[in-house]
């Protein structure tokens, strides 16, 4: 695992600007306006998605475990921004610095109980997805007493962190503020108040069943598989907003889903992307030809650039993918570029969620 301080990180690729709508949304959901909210103004659905996922209620696993998953996944994804945020959150909630360091160093020696260690190991494998975990990877968790629904929720938490990590890394969101604040003496003063505010937000969730009106649209098979978790409704909303957003064509979005599904070896997600492409007038043979070489003579040059970039979001080194993002940005508007980032991040999340499906 890389030492986070060694990770090269470029200047932000998104120019922050004020969005009153997003600020209102954040205030309503979390009670304050996060300093980075301006980064999302170019493509507000990504900002709303990030906030909704961050405050999602948990039913089967507790928030303490979810916080550890955030730390482990951000470390695994080499995301300096999310790592600094996850660390800061743990510090605010009262975890001593020495304990965090132990966790970062090695989960094996971190004096975690066996169930927690298993859960974190599962989250790490899921975020890495080299290759995608299979149903066999769930067995140790089930044997350790986690129920099926808890495993699904754990997979959801790990996958949502993959989304956060991708958005922050691909957009090169500045990690310095979080890193600085984590070391600041001010944190010690403000910590109890902040901790109380965060704990107040974290009420235990309840099983929520979706109405039939929500069982339609892109990736419904995943939404149905997640039914019962509050995350299912949130994901439905995110997918609908992403699909409806006007910055990129639906065809370009479905192609991004398809490229990432193929790169990660997720047949369900690839199949769904093909179905979406068919709806946009691209038959399976044409889609397959594009996917086979990430370019076909019928492919728009901008789409070809977007697809080559989408592929790089699967296995990446932060600075390298940020340089590639900078090159792509030259050919797109800021909103289009950020939507590519958002869709690619969502696609990476969706493939990892395939673990929640019933075994074939």
């Amino acid at each position: 695992m890389p030492a986070m301080q060694d990770i090269e990180w470029l200047d932000p690729l998104i120019e922050p600007r004020r969005s009153r709508e997003l600020e209102r949304f954040a205030k309503q959901r979390v009670g304050f306006v996060p300093p980075e909210i301006g980064c999302f103004a170019a493509c507000p659905w990504i900002g709303r998605a990030s906030i909704e996922l961050a405050v999602a209620r948990r039913v089967h696993i507790d928030h303490d475990l979810a916080d550890l998953v955030a730390l482990v996944v951000s470390q695994e994804s080499s995301c300096r921004f999310c790592y600094a945020t996850a660390r800061l959150l743990l510090r605010i909630l009262g975890m001593p610095e020495a304990r965090i360091r132990t966790l970062e160093r090695d989960l094996e020696t971190a004096q975690l109980d066996a169930r927690t260690r298993l859960a974190l190991d599962f989250a790490r494998r899921l975020s890495r997805s080299n290759p995608l975990p299979s149903h066999a990877d769930k067995r140790p968790l089930l044997e350790a007493g986690y129920g099926e629904a808890a495993v699904k929720e754990l997979a959801f938490v790990a996958s949502e962190n993959v989304f956060h990590n991708r958005v922050a890394t691909l957009a090169a969101m500045p990690p310095q503020r979080g890193e600085r604040l984590g070391r600041s003496w001010l944190l010690g003063l403000a910590r109890p108040l902040m901790a109380r505010r965060i704990r107040a937000l974290r009420k235990k969730g309840q099983t929520e069943w979706l109405g039939d009106d929500l069982k339609t649209g892109p990736y419904t098979y995943l939404i149905v598989a997640l039914d019962g978790l509050p995350g299912a409704r949130i994901l439905r909303g995110i997918l609908d907003q992403a699909w409806a957003s006007p910055q990129l064509s639906r065809r370009a979005k479905a192609l991004i889903f398809a490229v990432i599904a193929r790169g990660l070896g997720c047949p369900q997600s690839e199949c769904e992307a093909f179905r979406l492409l068919e709806g946009e007038g691209l038959d399976n043979d044409e889609a397959d030809e594009i996917l086979a070489h990430l370019g076909a003579r019928g492919l728009d040059p901008i789409e070809a650039r977007i697809l080559r970039y989408a592929r790089e979001t699967i296995w990446y080194q932060p600075a390298l993918v940020q340089r590639q993002g900078r090159a792509l940005r030259e050919h797109l508007s800021p909103a289009q570029f950020f939507e590519v980032v958002g869709i690619a991040s969502l696609a990476n999340m969706l493939c990892r969620l395939a673990i929640v499906l019933d075994p074939p």
Binding site: A98, E108, N130, P131, A292, H293
Partner: protein
């Protein structure tokens, strides 16, 4: 009164002793924590470095459980590159100059390979064995490997320009590519182990590379690569050619460029 002074003295001595023991204990704990953090940082650096040579899972398995001979079947594309006329070159320049030329060559070729999602498996004398799809699953490995070979051609042309300016001999390479299934894992002895890919495909890539001299081309690939290649690559079919160790003549193609 007479009795309480010794008791008080003993208590004070006990408290002072405990305080000293506590202080020493904390100092020792702090020293050990610093040492552990330093070792941990070293280990992290080692792990990061090692991840460039073997898949993360392999690295973690080694760290968790020591060396294991666990291996798995993988489809990879092998690229074998060799310098043409290296023996003559090594006899015509000073050894130190030769090493400098070679290092510059390896540096540029390795970069071209890494830029296209390949990893250098090993340097064999002046030869380079690179693999695509060995560390991470890669459905575009064939395209990546041929793009890497074309990038190596461009890098070498640029490097030769630099060598010419210094009055040094220029280099030329032969590159052979083949795709297939083999076994990836840790191979070696107790003294020296490396993550390697074992299979006929590596030998065949090397044999095909030998044929570049015969056909006077720099990049040759087999039909196993060609069949899954982007049609925008410009290829020239050459006669199927017998190679040692393979029963049937091998269908080969010269890579000329890419219409991108």
């Amino acid at each position: 009164m007479n009795l309480s002074w010794p008791i008080l003295g003993a208590l004070v001595a006990l408290v002072v002793g405990l305080a000293i023991a506590l202080w020493r204990g904390r100092r020792e704990a702090s020293r050990l924590r610093r040492a552990l953090e330093a070792k941990s940082a070293d280990l992290e650096h080692l792990q990061t470095s090692f991840s460039r040579f073997a898949p993360e899972e392999v690295v973690e398995r080694i760290i968790a459980g020591g060396i294991s001979t666990h291996a798995e079947r993988k489809e990879v594309t092998a690229l074998f590159a060799d310098l043409v006329g290296f023996t003559a070159l090594s006899e015509s320049v000073e050894p130190l100059v030769l090493v400098r030329i070679l290092n510059g060559y390896f540096e540029r070729m390795s970069r071209a390979i890494a830029d296209h999602r390949g990893h250098v498996s090993t340097f064999i004398g002046d030869g380079i064995l690179a693999l695509f799809g060995a560390l991470q699953p890669n459905p575009w490995q064939g395209d990546d490997a041929v793009h890497a070979a074309l990038a190596m051609r461009r890098e070498l042309a640029a490097y030769n320009g630099e060598l010419e300016q210094e009055g040094l001999p220029v280099l030329s390479i032969g590159v052979g590519l083949h795709r297939g299934v083999g076994v990836a894992g840790l191979v070696g002895s107790r003294e020296l182990m490396q993550f390697a890919f074992v299979g006929r495909i590596v030998n065949l890539a090397a044999r095909v590379q030998d044929l570049t001299r015969r056909y006077e081309v720099d990049i040759l690939l087999t039909s196993a690569v060609q069949e899954q290649l982007d049609p925008r690559f410009e290829l020239r079919e050459l006669p199927a050619t017998p190679v040692p160790g393979v029963a049937e003549p091998v269908a080969i193609f010269a890579a000329e460029g890419f219409q991108g």
